[in-house]
Amino acid sequence: MTALEDALVDVAKFDLAGEPLRQLNSRLHEACSSGMPRSWQVVNPGGKHSIAVGLDAELDVEIAGHVGYYCAGMNQRANVRVLGNCGVGVAENMMSGLVVIHGNASQSAGASAHGGLLVVHGDASARCGISLKGADIVVEGSIAHLGAFMAQRGRLVVCGDAGHSLGDSLYEATVYVRGSVAALGADCVEQEMRDEDVSELRELLERAEIAAVNAAEFRRYASARELYNFHVDNAGDYRHPDA
């Protein structure tokens, strides 16, 4: 299909079983500059890496199947929906927009993301929200260890349980967990869940289209800020979580 023909249909369809990834991404980038077509459906993703990366426009991209590493990497403004599981680093370094995963996410989901919203309806593996820099991440299931490791800004919301070393070396990001936390990481502490936290959280869950969960049931975790400046007396706090 030519770009013009694409523009004439409501949803441009791209089959990754037939055409190469390079073709898909370059067509999507063209659509970002021209604004057309706005809606895309990608079929047969086959676990390929770097699908729909570097988008910078209000496109809607639906991917019907499982994706590999870095899906929607560095996303800006686009709305990317994966009807399947995703590999490492989904929405890594996202700046804005919305990325929704209807399955599970592998490691480092939303790594270093600066803005936008990442929703994982299944579980997320280790290092979810690592180095987070301002984005919001909502996981409907549970997350593995080192969630929000060194997270700087933004919110990580976990409706299920969290693995060990949660929020290790956290800066100014906030973590909310509804279920159990295996262990908190260095300098991460539980703080009081205030009314404004509950209402912010409610709004975020609504945007994530997770309705059945009560915002009041979450606990709030943030940095004790005791490692912000290196004091000799803190040297022992940089410890292994299992130690």
Partner: protein
């Protein structure tokens, strides 16, 4: 030479010796000072710069000028070209630099905005590139640099796709020669509002940045990461991979297999803005020992000159440049020397150095942000001491001198292009250098570790 390393005039040492007082070479004055410092503070020493100890270096190599068996080229009259293309393997837009000397990645944050601007102006005047650093792309450096390489580091501070597209090349930083295996540091004094904002950090904290990337580990992941960067930028930009020199043969092999267009190799003498002294002095290998390993890896893969090799770590003169190229590098990169050219460690600030307990020629507390020369600081009053135009001119002059020196040596060896310098043009002064650089000891055919030819 303990007299020299202790920083005391020789006369004082001689007088002590006459009194029968002997300083230990194991526990020399600097060592004793360090033990006392550690006992007082309970924390390791942090500083800037590279390894200060003596290691085998380019000084231990000599070039063989032409005579009867080869003829030299006439200085100034006969052409000796210096241009280099970087990123010819996969990128749609490789870099074309007029000289094979680039400015290494140094972060805005560790350096002032004026310093970054001066680096850009100086490099652009000579048709070469500058590199961002662990803190994102500053407006000043993008505006002042005709060719700008954008670093993707473990911290991802300031990383964003707009700057990625604005860059001329992308450098995936795996490690640095001063601290292979270590992450970045920027102490609170330098986390000003602007720096904090660019890095998404609170103002004034002691920043500890990670040593591993947040979303990949190992060569297989790196390959996927590189492909992602190419996809985001539509395969336009060269992708560099920067490594600190350690297991260089293997690391270069893996970087090439992962799809690098250019490998940047930094030896242990390479500067840093702030790292533990113990790290700087004890981890990594000299660049002299690393280059032949890198070249060997590239040659075995059939990729020498197709994947370009940029080397750094203690490059000071045209002699260093010529020798690095002769060993098989395509270009070199400079950090410390560029800062010195801007005015770092200048004797004109002697009185200011004395006030902060240092001295011109020894100043390395770049992490403290009190740089009298206005380079490694975020203090607006100090920064104002560095005029970017003037600094840029000094850097341009220095680069010109480096190029002239390199060409002088290349012509003497009969080369019409500096890249035609080759290992056959080199001999070593010491057995160590001969073994590391894999060139014969001067006057012999002996390369330790290799069969006699």
């Amino acid at each position: 030479m303990p007299e020299v390393s202790a920083g005391r005039p020789e006369g004082a040492c001689r007088r002590r010796a006459q009194l029968g007082l002997r300083e230990s070479s194991t526990f020399d004055a600097l060592t004793i000072h360090e033990i006392q410092r550690a006992a007082r503070t309970g924390i390791y020493d942090i500083r800037g710069g590279g390894a200060k100890r003596h290691v085998p270096h380019f000084d231990d190599l000599l070039l063989l000028g032409a005579s009867i068996s080869r003829y030299p080229l006439e200085g100034y009259r006969e052409q000796c070209a210096t241009d280099v293309r970087l990123g010819t393997r996969f990128a749609r837009k490789p870099l074309r630099l007029a000289i094979p000397i680039t400015i290494a990645g140094m972060s805005f944050g560790s350096l002032s905005a004026n310093a970054k601007e001066a680096l850009g102006l100086g490099a652009s005047a000579l048709g070469t590139s500058t590199t961002t650093g662990d803190g994102g792309m500053s407006r000043e450096e993008r505006l002042s640099s005709d060719t700008l390489v954008y670093q993707l580091l473990p911290s991802r501070y300031g990383m964003n796709p707009d700057d990625l597209r604005r860059a001329d090349a992308i450098e995936v930083v795996v490690g640095q020669g001063a601290k292979p295996g270590g992450g970045g540091m920027l102490l609170g004094q330098k986390i000003s509002e602007r720096v904090a904002d660019m890095r998404d950090l609170p103002v004034g904290i002691d920043q500890r940045s990670p040593c591993r990337h947040p979303d990949w580990t190992g060569p297989d992941d790196l390959e996927i990461k590189i492909e992602e960067l190419r996809e985001i930028t539509d395969w336009e930009k060269p992708i560099f991979v920067k490594i600190g020199a350690t297991r260089t043969y293997y690391d270069v092999t893996l970087a090439v297999k992962a799809g690098a267009d250019v490998v940047v190799l930094d030896g242990m003498q390479g500067g840093t803005a702030a790292t533990q002294e113990v790290f700087i002095e004890h981890v990594g290998i000299p660049i002299l020992a690393a280059i032949p390993q890198a070249v060997e890896a590239l040659q075995e893969l059939g990729m020498h000159r197709r994947v370009q090799l940029i080397v750094s770590g203690g490059i000071r003169s045209g002699a260093d440049v010529a020798k690095a190229l002769a060993l098989g590098a395509d270009a070199v990169s400079i950090g410390t020397a560029a800062l010195v050219a801007l005015g770092d460690n200048s004797p004109s600030f002697e009185a200011d150095y004395a006030k902060i307990g240092s001295a011109a020629g020894c100043y390395d507390d770049w992490h403290e942000g009190r740089d009298p020369a206005g380079i490694s600081t975020q203090d607006p009053h100090l920064e104002a001491r560095l005029d970017p135009q003037l600094g840029g001119r000094r850097l341009a002059n220095y680069l010109r001198a480096l190029v002239l020196e390199t060409q002088t040596l290349a012509r003497a060896c009969g080369k019409s292009h500096v890249r035609n310098l080759e290992p056959e043009d080199l001999v070593a002064l010491t057995i160590e250098a001969a073994a590391m650089a894999r060139v014969p000891l001067a006057g012999t055919r002996w390369i330790p570790g290799m069969e006699v030819r």
